[in-house]
Amino acid sequence: MSSPAQTELSERAVRKRPWWPHLRAVLVLSHLCAIVLMSLPSSHRLASRAYWDKAEQQADLTRWANTLGVDREEFEEFLWEWTQRYVRIRKKITKPFLKYADYTGTRQGWTMFSGPRRRTGRYVVEVEQDGVFRSVFRTQDSSATWNRSQFEHNRLRKLMAKLTTHPQLPAYAQFSRWVAKRVAEDFPEATRCKITLDTWKTLSPGQHRHGVKPDAKRTRSQMFTLEVFR
């Protein structure tokens, strides 16, 4: 609560401009309204049938249906229908605030680890010198640490983490090409470089305790002739 001196100051200001406290309240409440509405879950994945049909999402739906003791198909249908209604309503009610968020930097969207992934991966950069390939970078491997300061910067890690699960994105090819250019600069003697992404299904605690090793699959592999970058 305000002190008497504060109250007096405020009263003086109100006498001068009686409309100001009301206008300020309107503006502050409008901002609050905007951030609350825009923070409602908005991922495009909610409306994507392809995303719903992914094996991981289907398995999660099955687990939920089992926990709730309901029919699996009916549960999915019910959820899908209500989610589409929700997405439509959300789109309508947030429309007036989108420009506001764009111009003022007040975008919301707090999807953080909402569904931890069950697949992970490792990038490997290999360089060919005198006809022999050797690894110069491997994710989380202290024996191959070329360009680590860049690859381990949080912004680049975020990008690489995204590409691990979406290697089909055009950004993946562009990223690999950028890495190849960096290799060409740092290894002037090298002739070619190979950039691969190995991914695997992460292991359960029981599998780890029994010494099971991840079954890594080569998801994407690209070879670059370094001559073109010099």
């Binding site: 300020r24 999660d60 930097g105 995204k162």
Partner: protein, 335 residues
């Protein structure tokens, strides 16, 4: 209806000393500086924020400001970076009065936001939380105290000048909204009791986010990780309830049994204790940028300037007592 409206009009008319806002200003300003400098030190300004035709790693468009200024070219990006760093420094130091200070904040917000929205694949929630904080501070008198402005105007770093309290209230809502909404979106079965609260175990299996490869070690500490998952999930979801405590405190003179029960304990202390513990865990185990530092910067706003001054006095008294006792015991030993 009229009475309810008047409640908000009065609430947003409150004034207080600027200490909490100033501490928040310094704290998020330092995070912004770290964010901007670390990317330059790593040599990633051009690779991440310029388009592929200028040496960047992706085809980029940029936000409205970047597009208006001609697109993500190296010259523009470095200019924006320079402006963002300079204004962040001025912001931390508290340069500028009620008008020029706000202009500095606005320029900092726009330049920072233009950069971090350039490449969505390389942007994090901490950028959004930071720019949300900056936008509110554009309307706050955040340089009133603990600032160069205060030093130049009054000859001392600390000032008793009163500032509007509503920016602090809005920022508290923003913080709690962020936590609750992220909690409510953690709908994967593994976050829930039905899924055995195993989400954190699976998060630690993902090499893309962890600080080191903890995947095998995590298998031996699953009870601890389950406990961490349960605390994180429930704590995040109920965070918005803290607003009820603030409401009860603000209307304490109205009395009532519920209000009395709620106000028996300071909910902020328990809430912040859990929050800080979770963020320490994130800092130790994961590499998600300065997200924890931005979030914890907001925590200072939970306490009023008067409470900060009282905490400061108590801390000083405590340390003076400690030092005095240490001196006495040493003197005794010597004699």
């Amino acid at each position: 209806m009229r009475r309810r409206w008047q409640f908000f009009v009065d609430l947003f008319d409150e004034t207080e000393a600027g200490t909490s806002l100033a501490l928040f200003r310094i704290s998020i300003g330092l995070v912004a500086l770290y964010s901007l400098l670390s990317i330059a030190v790593a040599g990633l300004v051009e690779p991440l924020w310029t388009s592929v035709e200028y040496g960047g790693m992706r085809t980029l468009g940029g936000n409205w400001l970047v597009q208006y200024l001609g697109g993500p070219k190296p010259g523009l990006i470095w200019t924006l970076w320079g402006i963002a760093v300079t204004t962040s420094l001025a912001f931390v130091l508290g340069l500028g009065g009620p008008i020029s200070g706000r202009i500095i904040t606005f320029v900092m917000l726009q330049s920072y936001n233009a950069l971090v929205t350039m490449n969505p694949l390389g942007s994090g929630s901490y950028d959004a939380l930071l720019s949300n904080g900056l936008w509110v501070l554009v309307f706050a008198d955040a340089t009133a105290t603990l600032s160069v402005h205060s030093r130049l105007r009054e000859g001392r770093w600390r000032s008793e000048t009163l500032v509007s309290a509503w920016p602090r209230y809005v920022l508290i809502v923003q913080l709690l909204l962020m936590y609750s909404l992220t909690g409510l979106q953690k709908s994967a079965h593994i976050w829930t009791p039905g899924g055995g609260y195993t989400a954190l175990y699976w998060v630690l299996q993902d090499l893309g986010w962890t600080r080191y490869d903890f995947s095998e070690m995590a298998a031996w500490v699953t009870p601890l990780l389950r406990f961490g998952t349960a605390v994180t999930w429930h704590w995040e979801q109920i965070s918005l309830l803290l607003l009820f405590w603030f409401y009860c405190r603000y209307t304490a003179d109205r009395g009532g049994r519920v209000r009395h029960w709620v106000l028996r304990r300071d909910w902020r202390v328990g809430w912040a204790f859990v929050g800080v513990s979770l963020h320490i865990g994130i800092l130790l185990l994961m590499n998600v940028g300065p997200f924890s530092w931005v979030s914890m910067s907001y925590y200072v706003l939970l306490w009023t300037p008067a409470e900060w001054l009282s905490h400061g006095r108590r801390a000083r008294k405590f340390w003076r007592g400690r030092v005095a006792r240490f001196g006495q015991s040493r003197a005794k030993k010597m004699s």
